[in-house]
Structures are given as C-alpha cells and as structure tokens.
C-alpha cells in the first residue's frame, strides 16, 4: 500500500479536527506509515466471499417502548459546560458572526 504523504497527513489531521505542530505532523507521518505497513498483511487473505462482522453476539433490533423517562438534572449537565448562559450551553458561532 502506498504510504501517506505529508499533505495527506495534514488533510487527515484536519478531518479529525486535531491541531498539531509541524514537528508533531512530521513524527506522525513516519509512525502512521510504519503502522500502515502492518495493514498490508491483510491483503494476503482472499475475503471476497466473507461477510464482514460488525458485532459478535447475535442480538438484533433491540427496541424499547417510546416513553419519556427521567433525564439528567439540567444543573448537573450545565455545570460541565465550558460556558453556559441561563439554561443554554454557549456554542461558538457556526453561521458567521458580526465580523462577517
């Protein structure tokens, strides 16, 4: 398998929302490629006729009644928010603020 280029490492870091220094990205590029080399081993196996396994116990379609149950106390949840105003968690603007 072809290795990850430096710009691909940067792209994946952006997709994963991980801000990293150039030195960190350099180090990661080498380490990730070393790990990706291990993945190549899987190509030895012919798996065309093999179904994928996503979970291992034979449970299917676990449903519950659609009823309201008590939820967490609002104060306990808000206490963990970095910023809250009244009953609301303050989130960063995502649609453009006054500056735009």
């Amino acid at each position: 398998m072809a290795g990850l280029s430096r710009s691909e490492v940067e792209h994946v870091a952006f997709l994963a929302r991980l801000g990293m220094s150039p030195a960190e990205l350099d180090r990661l590029q080498g380490q990730l490629n070393q790990i990706l080399d291990q993945y190549a081993k899987l190509a030895e196996l012919d798996t065309d006729a093999i179904p994928p396994t996503a979970q291992t116990i034979e449970l299917e379609n676990i449903l519950r009644d659609d009823v309201v149950t008590p939820s967490l106390p609002r104060d306990a949840v808000l206490a963990n928010a970095p910023e809250h105003r009244g009953a609301f968690i303050v989130v960063p603007p995502i649609l453009g603020g006054e500056a735009d």
């Binding site: 929302r17 990293m20 093999i50 396994t53 116990i57 676990i62 968690i89 960063p92």
Partner: protein
C-alpha cells in the same frame, strides 16, 4: 488468617464481616492507609476518596448490624461484596466525581450520574476507595500513555504494570484493595493482570452494561474484574453482570449463580479438571515470545494434564492477522467515539479570539489529547475516509469474521477452553516500547483476537520468570465465564503448593519509602540513560 486485613481475600473479609470480627470501616481504613502510604511510589490512584469511602463503609456497617438483628436469613441475603473495598478505573462514572479517562481533555469534568455497574455495586454494598490511573482513553499496554504520569509495577518499581488498566491491576497486586474494575478492548484487563500477577477477566461481549463508561471502541469494549483469586473475581463479575436497558448491547442472558459457588477446597476445585478437554493454540507461541514465559505456560499445561484433563494442540490459523485487523477496527471506532470531545458541552475547551469554530476544535483537541490518542484518531479517520473505507475498514471486518470462525471451529469440537499465554513477555521497563508504537501494539498479540471474536478470557498467575509474574490465559466460548472461573479455580487448586503462590510483590516494601522516586522520576531517569 493474618492480622493484616489487607492480606485477606475478599471472601475471607466477607466471613469476618458476618461474624462481627471486623467492620467495613476497619477494612476501608486499612486499605486507605496502604493506598495513601504507597501512592507516591506507585501513582496507581488518581483519586483516593477517604471521606466517601468511610461514609459508604459506615452505611454498610449499619445495614450489617440491622441484618444481624434480623437473623441469619437477613445476613445470608447480603451480597458477598457487602462491605468489601473496590477500586474503579477512572473511566467509570461515579456521580459527582472526576472521570478523566487518563486524559487532560476531561480534566475538571464531573460525572453527572452513576454508571450502571456503580449502581449495581452500591446496591451490593461495595465500598469505593477511589479511581485508578490508566492509559489515556484506555489506549495503551503500559500505562505510560496516561496524562497523569506512569504507574510502577509493585513487583519491580522500574517496570510498567501493563495497560490500559494498569492502575487497577497495580492496586490489587499491592493489596490496596482486594478488588478493582477495568475495561478490556484488546487486552487491557488481562495483560496488566498477567504483568502484576493477579486474576483479571474480560467477559463475553454484552455480559456487562457499559452505561456510564467512557467509550473507546464500542464493538470491542467490555468491563471486567480484577482480584487476587478466582473466587473473588467471579463474585465481582456476578455483581456487575446482566442486562441493562440503557446499553442495548448488554445481552438479556441470565447471570449464572454458579459464579458465587466456586469450591473453597483446593482438592474439590482440582477434581473438576478430570475429563475436561483443553486446546493449546499453536499460533499463540509467537515469534518474540520470551522462552522462559513459554516454559511457564508449558509447565502449567503439565499441571492441568496431571490433574486428569487432556490438552491437545489446536490451530487458530488467522491469529497472525488479528493485530492488523484490530488496529483498523479499534482506531476507526475510537475516531468516531472521540469526536464528542469538542470542548462545547463538557471537558477542556479552547475558544480562540477572532477565530472560527473549527479553529476552536483544532486547538481544543490538539491540546487536549496525548500522542497515542492522536495516532489512533488519525489511523481511524484515515481508515474510514472516502476511498479507503472498503480497503481498510470493510477488509478488517471480514478478517474479523475469519478470526471468529477459527474460534467457533475449535469450540465446536468439544474443547472446553483454550490455554495460552496472556502476554508474550513479563513486565517491561519504562520507556522500552515508547519509541516504537508497533512494539507496544505487539504486547496484545495474544489477547486482542479474543476481543475481535467477542469471547470471554481470563488471565491467572502461573509462576514467575526472573522474579516477575507470568499470566496464563484461558479462553472460552461465549457466555462460558462460569467454566473459565472453574478452570481458573482448579488451576489454583493444582498449584496450591507452589512456592510462587505465596510470594508478595517484590518491591512492595520499597513502595513504603515516602521520599523515594515517583514512577515519573524513575521513567525520566531511565530515559536519560
């Protein structure tokens, strides 16, 4: 029975509580003192909550006194864990308490509710002493990836306790508590149990509810018990197992009471082995395996055979592909699970002046996560990204099927359980595997296929190699925990006279030194050499 309360087994403590010779407060105090005295040297606890533990202990003593007034039936109705100290890995939610998962990004976070297993343990009357150190988000095999510093192994303070549940294993080995809980995604209970010389079980996927547990890889994660003997570990599993509506992957399968009925007598336990069939998977004797560890495993097999069981060589041909498949599946699931740490609703947060929200995310996550967690998120994000999903993720899921079929085929022949090494080596020195992530990943080569197949596995002590503990792994079909614990208890029976059984962790005395080096200082000194 010794006079030092911390040297007793949990089932001995339970008897002493019932006959009134000891109180839950006595037990809590004795263990808290040991934990507080030695935590500088071990760094195995992230919190030791003396006031909460004593309050819980007093409440259980009051219930015990009431039961004693009500008569023998009321005492018999108490759970075996009533009044017994327990330590919790710091990814298990306890209402109002910290839950860092070993990460800076959860510093200051307080759990708004109890995990399901915490509710269960409270109902059983267990006493929580505190929360234990761990690799960040349970990613690691040495506890060196904790944001709160490494943990020393009580057998040799210059070596790691294993991971990711390194703190939970070390505190049981050091007699700070008879019981603790961990999680196991690729070996994170069994490998540290092996390296610390104690019993640790990963139950069948679905056996224990994960409600209130910080998620790593949701198709692999399971909670399980640590103890110094099979009976205590089985009792702890009994207390936490069973269906919970709030975790739809917890299975509606009855919890067998057999877990509470393991024989007290060594001879009776050993007799169970007669006529049982064990498989020895040849692929588990991997390249790079310490020859002395292999000798301990082969000697263990001889003990099992001498007791009247047969041990036959079997093959699990896709074992060698487990590592690569695991390191696609687990990081992929982790990258999705850890997307929630965005600094908006909870956890550490960076809000940059005059920057957009994506810059905030990049800073929050870039600063909040450690190097190993970033590596895994990167791997997972890549494996799931457009154009690579089929080549990596689906391929790994198909290989997972092959690994599961290997186990199914062997168990279909009537094999009761597999015997294998837990870890290819004994505890290693600080720093030994930090420079090379793949060498760290290989620590779990013998344990991660079991997670991939969703099966139960238990690691039990089986001797020493150059003074450090070796773990024997028993693997069974789904829902066979009672059989695995019977086998584990039988192994205790057949090795009851072995001298290593009575040996205390070598460096426990050294851990009493209140001015000695911390694990971080030991690791730094090692790195400087």
């Amino acid at each position: 029975m010794t006079t030092d309360l911390t040297r007793q087994a949990a089932h001995e403590m339970a008897l002493a509580l019932r006959d009134g010779s000891v109180s839950a407060r006595d037990l809590a105090v004795a263990h808290l003192e040991a934990a507080e005295r030695q935590n500088r040297a071990l760094n195995a606890w992230l919190t030791i909550d003396r006031p909460a533990a004593l309050a819980q202990a007093d409440a259980t003593d009051a219930r015990l006194a009431a039961a004693r007034r009500d008569g023998p039936a009321a005492i018999a109705a108490l759970h075996p864990l009533h009044g017994i100290p327990v330590a919790l890995k710091d990814l298990i939610s306890v209402e109002g308490g910290q839950c860092t998962a070993g990460s800076r990004i959860l510093e200051g976070y307080r759990s708004p509710y109890d995990a399901h297993i915490v509710e269960r343990l409270r109902a059983a009357g267990a006493v929580f002493l505190g929360k234990t150190n761990m690799d960040e988000f349970a990613m690691g095999s040495s506890n060196e990836y904790s944001a709160y510093g490494p943990v020393s192994n009580p057998w040799d303070l210059n070596t790691v306790p294993g991971g990711s549940s390194g703190g939970s294993a070390a505190v049981v080995a050091a007699h700070h508590t008879p019981l603790s809980l961990g999680t196991d995604t690729g070996g994170s209970i069994r490998q540290p149990a092996a390296l610390c010389g104690i019993v640790g079980m990963k139950p069948t996927y679905g056996r224990v509810s994960r409600y209130g547990i910080v998620a790593f890889a949701s198709s692999l994660d399971q909670l399980g018990p640590f103890a110094r003997n099979a009976r205590d570990a089985a009792a702890l599993l009994h207390a936490i197992a069973g269906r919970d509506e709030r975790d739809s992957t917890s299975a509606p399968i009855p919890v067998p009471d057999e877990l509470l009925q393991l024989p007290a007598s060594d001879d009776e336990a050993a007799a169970w082995l007669r006529g049982k069939r064990f498989g020895l998977p040849r692929e588990y004797f991997v390249a790079g395996m310490d020859p002395d560890v292999e000798r301990r495993i082969r000697e263990s097999v001889a003990f099992i055979e001498d007791a009247g069981a047969t041990v036959e060589e079997v093959s699990l041909p896709h074992t060698d592909y487990g590592l690569a498949a695991y390191y696609i599946v687990a990081p992929a699931e982790a990258s999705a699970n850890l997307a929630r740490y965005d600094g908006v609703r909870f956890g550490q947060s960076r809000r940059l002046e005059a920057a957009d929200f994506i810059a905030d995310y990049l800073a929050t996550r870039g600063e909040g996560f450690g190097a190993e967690v970033k590596r895994r998120i990167m791997l997972g994000t890549y494996a799931l990204s457009a154009g690579y999903y089929d080549a990596f993720y689906v391929k790994a899921q198909k290989v997972r099927t092959l690994i599961k079929r290997d186990f199914d085929r062997v168990f279909a022949t009537g094999i009761d359980a597999l015997v294998a090494p837990t870890s290819p080596t004994v505890a290693f020195r600080f720093g030994a595997r930090l420079a090379d992530p793949v060498s760290m990943y290989l620590s779990d080569a013998c344990t991660l296929p079991v997670n991939m197949a969703g099966l139960p596995g238990v690691s039990i002590p089986c001797g020493l190699s150059e003074g450090l503990p070796v773990g024997l792994q028993l693997i069974g079909p789904a829902w066979s925990e009672p059989v695995l614990f019977r086998a584990a208890r039988a192994f205790e029976g057949v090795t009851a006279a072995a001298t290593w059984r009575d040996q205390e962790p070598t460096d426990l005395g050294l851990a009493d030194d209140a001015s000695g080096p911390t694990p971080a200082q030991r690791a730094a000194a090692r790195a400087a050499r």
